[in-house]
Symmetry: C2
DNA sequence: CTAGGTCATATCAGATATGATATAAAAATG
DNA sequence: CATTTTTATATCATATCTGATATGACCTAG
């Protein structure tokens, strides 16, 4: 099960433990997931204000489905792709650094 | 040719253009390279104060050669691996965010 | 209701990143 | 020096990430 699915369950009331408990991640793995999640959420926010997933996909020479996965915290998406997408929405290094620094 | 090699050449006096000119990168690709480079340099600094490449490699379940590449900006190394390595040296999210924010 | 647009999910073949290993080069140590 | 430790480079099989495509789900407007 991936994070996106977990979130959907939680929204429907299936409250369960933290991501790290649930998925049995090591502390470092858990932090990586947090970073990806923070970037995902921020990307989605930024992108929605500016363009469709298909438009963003074209900008980064990717595909709409891949952007959808990026925005939904699918763990097949690398941090690199997330950052490329953020940059394509006009995010600065400062923006990206801040998102990571504050990924709780 | 990779960045590491380029740097070695430059140290020996083969001054050439900026990374983006030389490698003909798009602006976004160029920024990604800058991020990787900044993480690399910071990682090397941190690691050297604390342990050998082999020791760090063990911590992150990788190999000494891979850590060497991570520290030398080899472009086969993902941002994920760089961050995992940073975390293993005790870097915080704030540390990592700051490095990225200030990758010039 | 339905047509169009947008987003989510599934699958896949190809590309890239990976750890392992061997070994060379370099640096530190004595 | 010579030895040992550490770091760099080369090669490789495998795992993971990739974009593409097809299609389903979900809207909203007509």
């Amino acid at each position: 099960m991936d994070l996106a699915k977990k979130e959907r369950l939680e929204r429907k009331g299936w409250k369960i433990g933290s991501a790290s408990e649930f998925l049995e991640l090591s502390p470092e793995e858990s932090i990586l997931v947090q970073i990806k999640l923070a970037l995902s959420l921020n990307l989605k926010e930024r992108r929605k204000r500016l363009m469709t997933q298909a438009e963003l996909a074209e900008k980064i020479h990717s595909s709409q489905p891949r952007v959808a996965k990026a925005e939904n915290g699918d763990d097949s998406v690398s941090i690199e792709l997330l950052i490329r997408a953020m940059l394509a929405t006009g995010a600065t290094l400062k923006d990206i650094g801040q998102v990571i620094a504050q990924a709780e």
